[in-house]
């Protein structure tokens, strides 16, 4: 048992991110959990995450699988009686989790998100290349199960081998912006 002398650190870290300030005003009513389609699949319920964060359990919160099951359906945000932007708080926790290298290994969602973001940052997301890379990277032996779906989509012209590209100037501009965004470090 450790005697505590006050630990505001983690709450402030979360609170500094856009949407994260709600962590201070939550009244633990559980409306978010009650409204969440995936609450049963999460290791910790949404409101529990806030309670744990307030208790300074940074490790446990950032390494939990809870936020990775968030669908961003915004039902919690709409119903929260304190106006906590919970979906954005979940995104903030995901971001901190990746930044601190505490990602829970038992779900593929973080990998998927990282890959997704990689393609977005190039200016256009090509569904075919993104899906191919994801399945080969994470599930190479079982990705053959996706072949029927992929075949159907190709047949119906739902995915193309050719992907849209920005102009040269546009690509350069995008890269300059994103490079600059890396230096001030974070959205706090």
């Amino acid at each position: 048992m450790v005697t505590e002398t006050g630990n505001k650190g983690f709450i402030d870290e979360v609170g500094a991110l856009p949407g994260g300030e709600g962590i201070k005003i939550c009244i633990q009513c559980g409306t978010c959990t009650a409204s969440c389609p995936n609450a049963d699949r999460m290791e910790h319920t949404p409101s529990e995450l806030i309670a744990m964060a307030r208790a300074g359990m940074k490790q446990e919160v950032l390494s939990s699988n809870a936020m990775w099951y968030c669908l961003s359906c915004y039902m919690c945000t709409v119903r929260c009686p304190r106006g906590v932007k919970f979906t954005d708080l979940m995104h903030a926790l995901e971001y901190l989790s990746i930044r601190e290298g505490l990602v829970h290994a038992k779900t593929l969602t973080p990998t998927m998100y990282r890959l997704f973001n990689h393609y977005c940052s190039m200016g256009n997301l090509s569904e075919l290349w993104f899906m191919l890379r994801f399945y080969l990277q994470t599930n190479p032996l079982r990705s053959w199960r996706m072949i029927p779906v992929a075949f159907n989509m190709l047949r119906r012209h739902r995915i193309s081998i050719k992907s849209r590209k920005l102009t040269r100037a546009g690509s350069r501009q995008l890269k300059a912006i994103l490079d600059k965004a890396e230096s001030p470090g974070g959205a706090e």
């Binding site: 915004y74 593929l108 998927m112 989509m153 739902r158 546009g170 912006i177 490079d179 600059k180 959205a187």
Partner: protein, 291 residues
């Protein structure tokens, strides 16, 4: 004539998986007098996952498009629900969080851009039902849907977190749109419930469960077809319908169309232009009535 800047988003562009949505959108825009000028050299908005990986970078991705759009001076319209939420969120956060705005401004400047927050971004369903209106739509119908039972599926993001377009739990705009086309919007209690979104890729079993609930609710209330306003919802409900059947031993054969495709059918536009054949689950039975 109504003028807007058009942002298709990666999925609705001509190379994307929901190109039928983009194609049918342009087709009905012509009929309704909507002049859609595609944003020049637009880049991906970042969608939902980006904010979880690189929070500031994600805001900058969206801000670049907003800055480019601001130059045209017109409001921007997008058919994609995710793009709609991302742009509106970026707009409101830049106003609400001055520190964030400072960093985004700095990044934009590195690309010789600036954004003053003057652009409003609206969803296609919004401009069609609000700016055009149901009476004008009714007037353009040449092949009324003759009571076709259509389940109106909004998905979660077009009405939430609530940028003022429609009611977050009980929206009516799509229902009324179906009615104005001559169809019958069926009772669909789960019409704003999530389809599983991008988790269909990383947590397929979980997402399939959610998709199944939607298909069950729609079909058990008598829907002959389902319309959606989001490219990802359409993919989950359509391209993965077979997977749902495999996993749960069900036999759903519910055609899933984009609302713009349904409008196109009612306006008498050709099926090729509307991309009807792009759907995995065949819409043949439904269309037989209207040929």
């Amino acid at each position: 004539m109504k003028y807007y800047t058009y942002f298709p988003g990666c999925s609705c562009s001509s190379e994307g998986g929901a190109r039928a949505y983009g194609g049918s959108m342009r087709a009905i825009a012509k009929v309704l007098g909507l002049e859609l000028k595609e944003l020049d050299d637009w880049s991906c908005c970042g969608s939902t996952p980006s904010g979880s990986v690189d929070e500031l970078g994600a805001f900058c991705l969206a801000a670049r498009d907003l800055a480019l759009a601001e130059k045209t001076g017109l409001d921007m319209v997008t058919p994609c629900s995710a793009c709609y939420v991302i742009f509106n969120r970026t707009n409101s956060y830049l106003k609400q969080y001055p520190r964030l705005k400072a960093k985004v401004d700095e990044a934009l400047a590195a690309g010789d851009l600036k954004y003053d927050g003057l652009i409003k971004v609206r969803h296609a369903l919004d401009i069609i039902t609000t700016d055009i209106g149901y009476d004008a739509i009714r007037a353009k119908v040449t092949k009324p849907l003759a009571g076709l039972k259509v389940a109106p599926y909004y998905g979660c993001q077009v009405v939430r977190p609530g940028f003022g377009f429609d009611h977050p739990e009980n929206p009516q705009s799509l229902d009324k749109l179906i009615a104005s086309l001559g169809g019958e919007p069926t009772r669909f209690p789960l019409k704003t419930h999530c389809c599983g979104g991008s988790l269909i890729i990383s947590e397929e079993a979980l997402a399939l469960d959610l998709t199944r609930k939607l298909l069950e609710s729609a079909t058990s209330n008598g829907a002959e077809c389902l319309v959606t306003v989001c490219p990802l919802c359409q993919t989950n409900l359509d391209a993965y319908q077979n997977r749902v059947n495999q996993k749960f031993k069900t036999s759903y054969k519910l055609p899933v169309l984009f609302f713009t495709q349904l409008m196109g059918i009612a306006f008498g536009i050709g099926e090729k232009e509307l991309g009807i054949k792009n759907s995995i689950v065949s819409a043949e039975k439904v269309l037989l009535k209207y040929r």
